[in-house]
Amino acid sequence: MTALQSLPTVLRRRRLMAGGGVTMTVLRLIVVYLIALLLQLTFFTQVRVAGVAPELPALVAVLAGLFAGPRHGSMIAFWAGLVWDVYLSTPLGLAAAAFAVVAYALGGLTEDLFHDTRIQTVVLAFAGTAAMVTAYALLGEFVGQRGLVDDRLPRVVLVASAFNAVLSLAAVPAMRWAVGSGPARRRARRREPLNAPRTVR
């Protein structure tokens, strides 16, 4: 096994160790997700734009895909969707499946992105949310749920995605902290050696 081949594994291990291990990462993710869920269940039942609320569980799933990669991101997104399903009128597993698939795709597509800029994350949060909400609605219709795909869907997708894109500015630091991401992730993306100095932005 070459040094380059083992780099992501070593980085992942270091990242988890740096954050206090897998248990601490899971606990941090639970904290961040619970905050998002509580805001969604309380504050954002009233605070809406054009009758549409943000999709904070989807935002957590999108950022998990971006910061934890397709493998771990899809797992986090699955659980985020599953808990969100508990509060939705649609069948259990619908949001979980949609979130996991989109987070996987998003994580895979963005794994080799060269930069990790704020504007890039905002755009990806918008696109990821749009994909998740659309996938959720289409999958729901596919399994026989009425009223998910109608003329209101484009408005819901656009407004919820825009809402999430704005809120991602606050959510990104929280998710970076939760997944123990940040510099290590960026370095992994650039395929830099472990002892390379950090770039100051």
């Binding site: 039942t45 999709e55 899809s74 009128s89 597993g93 979980a96 009425r146």
Partner: protein, 298 residues
Amino acid sequence: MAVAQRSGRSRYRLLLLILTAATLLTLDFRGFGPLETAQSRVRDVLQPVVSAVDVVLGPVAEVWTVMFSYNDLQEENARLRDEVDRLSSADIRSAAQQDAFDRLLAATAVTYVEGVERLTATVLRDSPGNFDDDVISVDAGRRHGVAPGMAVVTAAGFVGRVETVDAVSSTVTAVSDPGLVIGVRLLDTGDVGLGHGMAGDPTRFVVDAGLRWPETGDLSELPTIGSAVVTAAGSRYPADIPVGRVASVEPAEAGLAQLVTVELSADVQDLGYVTVLLQAPGDEAPVGPDSPFPQESP
């Protein structure tokens, strides 16, 4: 090589997640008891936290609501000023109490159902999701004797059915939900059919199954516009609960069936209180060969 292996493992894991979701979906569709209990327990555990956060963030959310409904508030303000002029002796507090009392009376003064135990519940909040406009939460649950499938009404008529029941709260699917199928009877003609809400219009309901267009072509056999529509005796809910009034009748299925649009009698968008009819729900109203309703197929 290692990258390919990792990618393969990732795809394998995603496949497992999708299979898990598909299994959960199947179990949920089949009404697998332990799964529903588990969901209910999760909601029960989080309910006190949700309520506490709601109390803390409620005023902040109110500020947002006030900011973005300024025009509406201006109109309402003008109307209230007129009202204050007329009722100069009444203070705002008593007016608010009167409003709450009126809403409570509207929800509890149910005169059309007899012999059924009732429970008055307060509407807690609207749905948290973007696709659940027709779902509301009420503060009555398992501990109060509420069970899934029970009818929820106001004095105006049918509001919806209890969907999920937790310890102290429940969700109600409103009659405006296109997915909620209800057996109804048209009082004018006595015909019985199946209807559901109309997507995007929470004030209307459409009866699109079980009603045949008059073979003779005699339009006097059609229900009169404005005639009442109630729940049918064969439906899963108590009979004769007002649903609404006929708004239009159109031919459907190449002129062989009736498509009856009904103006709902209950306003499901502005509910303060509701009454839950504590009667064990009947079986799901079957659609098709086993339907208790007349088969009007050509």
